[in-house]
Symmetry: C2
Subunit: 154 residues, 2 copies
């Protein structure tokens, strides 16, 4: 990116734009519901994240406009000699700025936040259908050492 990206905690006013970005994606379009008014479950999720000191919903801004979002969760674990890990989830960039390096800046920001919080590991899972994302995380130094299992509850 030529211009400087600013990172900050998301506010309730960003939520509409966040869901819009999440839905503007080949998998997100099937999984999300971007409607007006915004479905209440998104507001409830936002409030739960905001109330939790171990969760951060981060937006990336360019010229005052929100162009990226990611959630970082900080978790203390007993395994691997104790310590904290940062888990990155829900990384999306606006389609208008894709391919200009914003994704890398976002992940590097998350890594910095993880260091500030004293984490010894950063982790994430990426859908195996997202071939570009899998390559992207590998290029950033992440190792795909684990299988990521999901079980939907109904």
């Amino acid at each position: 990116m030529d211009q400087a990206i600013e990172f900050r905690q998301a506010t309730r006013q960003d939520l509409d734009r966040i869901v819009e970005m999440l839905a503007d994606d080949v998998l997100g379009s099937q999984r999300e519901r971007y409607e007006q008014p915004l479905p209440d479950f998104y507001v409830q999720a936002f409030d739960a994240i905001s109330a939790d000191p171990n969760n951060e919903l981060i937006v990336a801004c360019l010229d005052g406009e929100v162009v990226g979002v990611q959630q970082i969760t900080f978790t203390p674990y007993i395994v691997r000699q104790g310590g904290w890990r940062a888990t990155i989830e829900g990384v999306r960039t606006a389609s208008s700025v894709r391919g200009r390096g914003l994704g890398s800046q976002m992940i590097l920001y998350a890594i910095e936040r993880a260091k500030e919080r004293g984490c010894h590991l950063v982790q994430l899972t990426s859908d195996k259908q997202r071939e570009d994302a899998l390559r992207f995380y590998g290029q950033l130094g992440f190792e795909a050492t684990h299988e990521g299992f999901k079980l939907k509850l109904t």
Copy 2:
């Protein structure tokens, strides 16, 4: 298992046994430090988990003896129409009881806890070196839809 397994929140008094089980494992033996006295980083991790209402360190007991451990983290997410997920980590059973179905009971317990907490998804990652574990989670209905990436911070 013939006898009934009891699940409960771990206490500080269980921590020595928990680390002993974590270290009694082909990968854990390289990653953990089971020593007397127990290294302080384990105690700090235990205290951080205990202080967090969204983290539970669960032990499985047989005849009053701790024979299994797992950590369950509850996280609110914006993605997938908001809602909470349960993440399972650090699942270990005592070598003395392996192969008797305790692992399945532990995961089923975690799934029940996830339902009680209103989660719509249970997730975990498993090291690709753990071929038995990968098969085990598949048999329990988990789908390996994601790549699990890790980045160690130094």
